[in-house]
């Protein structure tokens, strides 16, 4: 059933919802939460599909907020979908002009009583989520740094402003990797002397993975650039050799533990609907993400601190990669294997915020590797 309401307001939307549910024959509902999805016109379609399919697992009232502040006229249009293959209710709220500046006034009357409110920004999101009018309505706030123009810069910003109930889908994407790594360490409970993450250059998830490992293991974790897709490998070095999980094709990984044969394990990159469904399973704070986010901030600061005094003239403690990265900042050709294209392409425009360009950072041997990627990221992400 689809009901369209032009130039309307919240109370008319609410009564239309009740009426629609009555006529569908199920006045009581098993909806467990209100999910607010905040998009601009472009990301709307994909986000709507992902949210709808997640609502099969988590029946909810889905409020899709599409706002455009650019138009002069102010107004609210609503579109109600009910009983179309998903258990909950969907309301598309198109806000124009002045209304779009006061979205909370529209949303507050439409939240389900008592049950949790989740807000999800599939693309660009406000800097401080909990101070945002929509974010303030929600107990859970989900963002996606990978959905923005500059994933690493966004992720660092997210981490710096991390608040309770907030997670980022970059973190969700890591779950299968983290599960396998934890299982590998269950199998081989050794002490580790080093750890490294290999990923496509400019991959925000790799930074987060490195931060998590650094937080858990107390080691400086390197990030090395590869061709991708996504994260292509994680290595934990022990005295007897590496525990390694490598994945070149985004589907099937090779798993190796010292003293044991190499084995294959399926490790697919997951779709957004699976990610969002995983997010909606937890309504409480994700302390582990919080800790990883704090480490991410420390790593980024360390990177900036190391990069700013000695631009182009790296101390001898820094590794070769670090030297390269600083060289490339000045336009020198990138020589790292497998990264030539992105490096060359990224070298020129250099338009991204200073924060990220500075993050290539290295301090001491451990962080050396991360420099290459972080620096690169800010430039490659928009172009790829």
């Amino acid at each position: 059933m689809k009901i369209e309401l032009k130039s309307t307001n919240s109370s008319r939307v609410a009564s239309a919802l009740i009426k629609a549910r009555r006529s569908a024959g199920s006045p009581t509902t098993g909806m467990v939460m209100t999910l607010i999805v905040v998009t601009d016109g472009r990301g709307y379609q994909r986000a709507a599909e992902a949210a709808l399919s997640a609502s099969r697992e988590h029946p909810c009232r889905l409020l899709l907020v599409v706002s455009s502040t650019s138009t002069k006229t102010s107004g609210l249009d609503a579109e109600i979908h009910l009983g179309e293959q998903v258990p909950g209710e969907t309301v598309v709220l198109r806000m124009r002009g002045e209304v779009a500046e006061h979205p909370a006034s529209v949303l507050l009357p439409l939240l389900l009583p008592d049950s949790p409110v989740v807000a999800w920004w599939p693309g660009e999101a406000p800097v401080s989520l909990k101070d945002d009018p929509i974010g303030a309505l929600a107990n859970r706030r989900i963002t996606d740094a990978d959905g923005t123009q500059h994933p690493i810069a966004t992720l660092e910003q997210r981490a710096a402003h991390h608040g309770p109930g907030e997670t980022d889908l970059t973190w969700t994407r890591l779950t299968p990797w983290r599960g396998l790594l934890a299982a590998a360490v269950d199998q081989y409970p050794a002490t580790f002397s080093a750890a490294a993450v290999e990923a496509k250059r400019g991959h925000a998830g790799a930074q987060l993975m490195a931060a998590w490992l650094e937080n858990r293991l107390g080691l400086d974790v390197q990030v090395r650039g590869t061709r991708g897709p996504g994260i292509t490998g994680v290595r934990l070095t022990t005295a007897a050799g590496d525990i390694s999980i490598t994945r070149d094709d985004g589907l099937l990984a090779e798993y190796s533990v010292p003293g044991q044969p190499r084995r294959l394990v399926a490790l697919k990159r997951r779709d957004t609907e699976e990610l969002i469904a995983e997010e909606l399973r937890r309504m409480d704070d994700d302390d582990i993400f919080g800790a990883a986010a704090r480490t991410l901030v420390v790593r980024a600061e360390r990177g900036r601190a190391a990069a700013s005094p000695g631009r182009g003239k790296k101390k001898s403690t820094a590794r070769k990669t670090a030297g390269k990265s600083t060289a490339r900042q000045q336009g020198a050709p990138d020589q790292a294997p497998g990264s030539r294209r992105s490096g060359a392409r990224g070298g020129a425009p250099r338009t991204s915020p200073r924060k990220t360009t500075a993050s290539p950072a290295t301090e001491g041997p451990g962080a050396g590797g991360s420099a290459t990627v972080e620096e690169n990221s800010s430039t490659t992400a928009p172009s790829s």
């Binding site: 098993g30 697992e57 934890a182 360490v185 409970p189 007897a240 044969p261 084995r263």
Partner: protein
């Protein structure tokens, strides 16, 4: 350098996203050509792999009397996965599984076959790094357990060494009466310690058990009325709309009571009636279930408070179906029942005087499993009789399948100027989660076996206590020598079942 006691730095109790992935191991399935194995076990193994819950070093070994090589077996697994798996087929998951698929042709009583099995397993331990961890799934008739378990012991496949495990999985029925259950337990426990024996009742998913525990013990709302002061009787139903199909060989001589009541319905009774465990660890949960099963007893008057029936030929759900006696492979002298209903009383403070009615049957009107608590009438109704004529008693129903959820039945006023009160339903469904993404019972069961996580698997004490409740009923039925009463297919069972409740002043719910 390697210290198994060192806590894994990557794990944290707060990190509840991290899935529990089983350690490397070999799953050996005996009776791999059976229906169960093709329709349930192998697809469940694939689904686990697809969800990333199987370890990279995992191997699946089939054992059967077939002239197959590994590739033939792999093809069988492939086909059954494609047809029956819950999750979409993905080539890379299949490649992960394929690496570890082996087949051992042979007889259960042949030493050479078990030598071959042992060689295969040892080779896998090397090649797949499965590290000496083996689970043996006996998907075979209980009569053959003795043979297999003995072979496993003789070939050193049942030894428990430090850091490695050998586990055995057996399916219901766990014997056909108390004596045979004890005998079965003696056989299995002579070789495997009790924590290595996993008794699987695939009717009872772990999810269901946990839902019941959550409803009862996470809420303040229900526990105060969960006793004889407020509840006048409890009905536990498991109905199937199908007949026995081609399974006469298994079913004839077993019957509904042994097949379903002994394990499934009595487990549901235990979960409904038990006291709160001090914690949810395996031991505490089991000891509460055992306590309540020990307090439960069969009815004093077996003739009045039990009923049995068998389905006749006729029309069920718009389809013409055969009666039980005409099913292929059923012996003409058979007295096997396809419907059984029993009253069980629990002699403790919480439940004294509250009858629990258990019923199960095949070819009933629809497929449903539920536990319904029926409440006493309000002690005083400040309405005229005619106002409350249509008011029954309040009920709380735990729907178990299909459409898992909770229904609350209570009286509400019919809109209008007249004061008329009628029963209404309030439904809660566990949402799409329970149909779309939550694991099939088998996946949970297999994963728990591989993880060595036994809390919800009944141990032999529970099995024996259940037989103690059911044995007198079965003996009584056998002593009468009658054939069970016929009931129309697609109905809700024989008249004797309705009479049995009517004697106590109740009536069966229509589930």
């Amino acid at each position: 350098m390697l210290d198994p006691n060192r806590p894994n730095p990557l794990r944290d109790p707060q990190d509840r996203r991290l899935p529990r992935i089983a350690g490397p191991c070999v799953l050996v399935i005996f009776g791999v050509t059976g229906d169960l194995s093709r329709k349930k076990l192998m697809p469940a193994v694939y689904d686990l792999a697809n969800r990333g819950l199987l370890p990279p070093g995992f191997a699946l070994v089939g054992f059967a009397r077939r002239d197959w090589v590994n590739e033939d077996f792999a093809q069988i697994v492939h086909d059954s996965v494609k047809e029956h798996a819950r999750t979409p087929f993905r080539e890379e998951v299949w490649r992960q599984l394929l690496e570890g698929i082996r087949f051992v042709p042979g007889d259960l009583n042949s030493d050479e076959s078990f030598d071959e099995l042992k060689r295969t397993i040892l080779e896998l331990d090397e090649a797949r790094g499965t590290g000496g961890n083996h689970a043996f799934y006996l998907s075979i008739p209980p009569g053959l357990f003795d043979e297999v378990v003995g072979q496993l012991r003789r070939h050193g496949l049942a030894e428990q060494r430090g850091g490695q495990w050998n586990r055995v999985v057996i399916e219901k029925p766990f014997g056909h009466d108390l004596t045979s259950a004890q005998e079965l337990n003696r056989i299995v426990s002579s070789v495997f310690p009790s924590q290595s024996v996993f008794r699987i009742d695939h009717y009872l998913g772990k999810e269901t058990v946990q839902n019941m525990l959550a409803l009862r013990f996470a809420n303040q709302l229900f526990e105060p009325v969960w006793n004889r002061n407020y509840i006048d009787h409890v009905q536990i139903t498991m109905a199937e709309d199908i007949g026995i199909g081609g399974r006469a060989g298994y079913y004839d001589g077993i019957g509904a009571a042994r097949d379903v009541i002994q394990n499934h319905l009595l487990q549901l009774l235990a979960l409904t009636a038990m006291e709160e465990p001090t914690s949810f660890d395996a031991r505490q949960l089991r000891s509460e279930k055992q306590k309540v099963l020990a307090a439960a007893r069969p009815p004093l008057d077996l003739a009045a408070h039990t009923a049995r029936g068998r389905y006749d030929g006729g029309w069920a759900g718009g389809v013409k179906v055969r009666g039980y006696a005409e099913e292929e492979g059923v012996s003409p002298e058979s007295t096997t029942e396809t419907f059984a209903a029993v009253r069980v009383d629990i002699d403790n403070r919480r439940w004294a005087g509250v009858p629990f009615y258990l019923r199960t049957g095949k070819r009933l009107a629809r497929r449903v499993t539920e536990v319904a608590l029926s409440f006493r009438k309000a002690p005083h109704l400040p309405f005229t009789n005619s106002d409350t004529e249509a008011l029954g008693s309040n009920a709380l129903v735990m729907r178990i399948q299909p459409d898992e959820g909770i229904t609350l039945r209570f009286g509400a006023k019919v809109p209008g100027t007249q004061m008329e009160i009628r029963e209404v339903n309030m439904d809660f469904a566990y949402g799409g989660a329970f149909t779309e993404s939550s694991p099939e019972a088998y996946e949970r069961l297999i994963l728990d076996v591989l993880l060595g996580d036994p809390p919800l698997f009944p141990q032999h004490e529970e099995v024996e206590l259940s037989w103690r409740i059911l044995d007198p009923v079965l003996d009584y039925w056998a002593s009468t020598g009658d054939k069970p009463e016929k009931y129309a297919p697609g109905s809700w069972g024989p008249q004797s079942a309705a009479d049995m409740l009517a004697r106590d002043g109740f009536a069966w719910r229509r589930p």
